[in-house]
């Protein structure tokens, strides 16, 4: 089976419908219905998803749930853990993030790492395998590629932790004592930096400067993406950005697509695959991540049991498209009408608060 065929089988294996390449945007209703056909997949039980993941994990040789925590068997981690425990009872976001990483296995789907491992195995050795003959290979995956998968998760987790920093001058009395938030911020920065430092060290050990550059630029993209997520149109005091779907695509690529895309490409580079294969892997990773995000954005709109208090992000894909069709003025008017009727109740510290509802780890 050719590499191309193998790559196209993967998303189906992971529960996606069809080739991710076709799931790409043209701002039209056709596309929405295509993405909506995911509904069939997403309303299947969590048990189905878990089964798919565990089969994928068998392929790569081990469970990947605690990948990014494995390297943290160190003094620093027990230090961090002790400090995070002090946050129990406070409202600092780090507590939610930490809980999600350690206890909540349903949300702790370390998809990125798993995808990197799968694509490494699918691609197999390259025609340049003679230059890789010193690398260890276990279950069809080079140890450097496994290391890369871990590094990807480290970078993702580091930014997840850094996203939870709170602005001290925006705190309300309902957020609790200032010093709890300051302390939480401190631990969040240190933990995130610790994870990043581990990622950098891991990258250095790979002894491949192209891979370092790829992942470093993915980190830069991710930081910019998170930055955009946080910026609201404060000037106009509107609660929703005036962006069209193409801007949304660009921003979402930065915050969600770049890491997986570049990581998949880097995995190919490690096995010394050529530019064509690297580009294929890049596109695969990008589309996987983007479609996952879009699916996530869709959830509040297609769940069977939508209650009145379903929250959704006002900069999520369906909303952005809706705004683009209607035009900004009409959309702002609709928001106003909903507010008047008392039907719009958004979390005070949105987008952070609202976003967290939808964020699968």
């Amino acid at each position: 089976m050719s590499l191309r065929q193998r790559l196209f089988r993967l998303p189906r294996y992971l529960g996606a419908s069809g080739s991710p390449r076709r799931l790409w945007w043209s701002p039209s209703l056709d596309t929405i219905s295509l993405v909506g056909s995911w509904r069939g997949q997403s309303s299947r039980s969590p048990a189905h998803w878990n089964q798919v993941v565990s089969e994928a994990e068998k392929i790569v040789g081990y469970p990947t749930s605690f990948m990014s925590l494995r390297c943290l068997l160190s003094d620093e981690l027990s230090n961090i853990a002790m400090q995070v425990r002090k946050l129990v009872g406070t409202q600092h976001p780090l507590l939610t993030t930490a809980r999600g990483l350690v206890y909540d296995s349903r949300h702790n789907l370390q998809l990125r790492g798993l995808v990197v491992l799968l694509i490494s195995k699918a691609a197999g050795p390259s025609s340049m395998k003679a230059s890789c003959q010193n690398y260890d290979m276990v279950s069809g995956i080079y140890s450097c590629q496994r290391s890369l998968a871990e590094i990807t998760e480290l970078i993702h987790t580091a930014l997840l932790v850094h996203r939870g920093i709170v602005n001290l001058n925006e705190l309300q009395s309902s957020d609790g004592p200032l010093k709890d938030m300051q302390f939480g911020n401190k631990i969040a920065i240190l933990s995130g930096d610790f994870l990043l430092a581990n990622a950098c060290n891991g990258l250095a050990l790979l002894q491949n400067t192209k891979v370092v550059e790829l992942l470093a630029s993915a980190l830069m993209d991710l930081v910019q993406g998170v930055y955009h997520e946080n910026s609201t149109s404060a000037k106009e005091n509107y609660i929703t950005d005036d962006i069209g779907i193409s801007t949304w695509k660009e921003q979402t690529f930065l915050s969600h697509g770049a890491l997986l895309a570049k990581s998949c490409q880097a995995a190919m580079e490690l096995a010394k695959h050529g530019a064509e294969v690297q580009d294929m892997a890049f596109q695969y990773g990008k589309h996987m991540a983007m479609s996952h995000k879009i699916n996530s954005d869709l959830q509040p709109f297609i769940k069977e049991k939508t209650s009145d208090s379903t929250t959704f992000h006002l900069n999520s894909a369906p909303v952005v498209l809706h705004q683009e069709f209607l035009g900004r003025d009409l959309w702002i008017k609709q928001i106003g009408e909903a507010q008047e009727k008392g039907r719009l109740d958004y979390a005070k510290d949105w987008p952070q608060g609202v976003f967290e509802v939808l964020e699968d780890s």
Partner: protein
Amino acid sequence: MRTLERDVQASQRSIALIAEMIHTASLVHDDVIDDARSRRGKHTVNKIWGEKKAVLAGDLILSAASIALARIGNTTVISILTQVIEDLVRGEFLQLGSKENENERFAHYLEKTFKKTASLIANSCKAVSVLGCPDPVVHEIAYQYGKNVGIAFQLIDDVLDFTSCSDQMGKPTSADLKLGLATGPVLFACQQFPEMNAMIMRRFSLPGDVDRARQYVLQSDGVQQTTYLAQRYCHEAVREISKLRPSPERDALIQLSEIVLTRDK
């Protein structure tokens, strides 16, 4: 005969930039951690733009530094400088914890000082020497020079926290005490005034602790001892760098280590 390579290579210039970027990224994060209001006489990033943006800014600078580092194309140099990133973080963690035992405290302080300050200088010097010549003896000289100057620099910085007044420094004084940190002058003073032990252990957290500790330090010879220690590190730096052949650059490096000792801000 081989022409003497007198010009700085582009890759070495790049290391200088990268070192500054790593340093800046760590300062931006440190200022959020310490909830600092000012740095180098200006408002901190976190005070102007908030903590969230400050943390992201630090991450961005770090990623830019990493990209530049990768583009140099030398895996040894990448390893040397990523060690710095790890040391910086470990240094912060060392600062979070404290040692019960007086004897361990000084070793802990020097280790923290190396990781937080000297590692960057030592390893950047080593990195440029790796790019400049293949001789490991030279790499070690560069590393030792950087390490000794770095430690001396931090020791003097710790002294200035006690001896200067706030309009000369970019940050307000007794800053370390207020953060609960026991630096060189404090540790030396404690040998003369054992009453300080209790304050050190509770990280100067009770009202009046900071002022009392400051008084003890100024009464003791803590400042002098720390300065003397810094001098010894500088002499070691000079001794190392003197192993290189004479040049205007070597003279500058010797002068630099003297400036470290005599600066007042």
